[in-house]
Symmetry: C2
Subunit: 178 residues, 2 copies
Amino acid sequence: MAEEVLSAETAYKGRLLGLKIFDVKLPTGKVARREVVEHPGAVAIVPLLGGDRVALVTQFRLAAGRELLEIPAGTLRPGEDPIECAKRELIEETGYEAGELEPLAEFFLAPGYSTELMRLYLARALRAVGQRPDEDERIRVVEMGISDAWGLVERGLIIDAKTIVGLALALRRLGGGG
Amino acid sequence: MAEEVLSAETAYKGRLLGLKIFDVKLPTGKVARREVVEHPGAVAIVPLLGGDRVALVTQFRLAAGRELLEIPAGTLRPGEDPIECAKRELIEETGYEAGELEPLAEFFLAPGYSTELMRLYLARALRAVGQRPDEDERIRVVEMGISDAWGLVERGLIIDAKTIVGLALALRRLGGGG
């Protein structure tokens, strides 16, 4: 069922993203063109505080044209271990250091056109050490019960895919079902 | 909290995707660069058959380098109504015509760099009318209980974000909690 790559052309190579154009041969023999965004991969973290509370972050997202409420997340640096990346991003964005990081899932965000693979963790045993945002990020931390956060999903106020996946899987892991 | 766009440059404009580079002024006054993939938007459908069964599809995804098991989905054509797009894609990919289409959610898949907004529907009252795949798609339909599908999420065998979101929200809508 795989597609055989006949040719690949780099249309763009930037700081974070690349874009390649592939001509592929389908199992039927037909040739098709595919546009693929190359992304280094990312991590996201559901930070679980006492009393089944979670720490979410708000930040302005240019691609969405608005501020979104999300779980903390970030892009892998070259060669970076995903667990180390998750620890680093959690501290930078929320100011919490994770005593435990438990893998929840790995998933593609937009496999129709993006190579981005997201690794998702549940962070527990959190200790406040102070937020250290990147200089081009403006992030606000919002803490609430995880069931209340799921309520925001149901009401259409949390509209970020990784955040919905993270809350759904964390609720299952907690055994509550929300 | 918004970012003020100072300049925008089109780095790529293709068949499906575009890529723009923005210089933005942050609320702090600092200037930052943002790479943004422009996408026309998409729909995805959780097709619900009798007995709480769902129709999923497998297809090879070049960006993921493998075949994935997903809910049916597709990209909006220029000016296309999302509901019409959902009906069309559902027939093309699964061969089912939806008697009812109920909105489940709208969400961004990768708001850090992609404008893609996904509209998600629950399809019921399905009637088999015959699959009509695009000529460059090779799609196989897989039907299973929705709780079994969620089991594949938990076991890491469904690794597509929109599919995890769709199954989680459909389970809630059905009141089962899975």
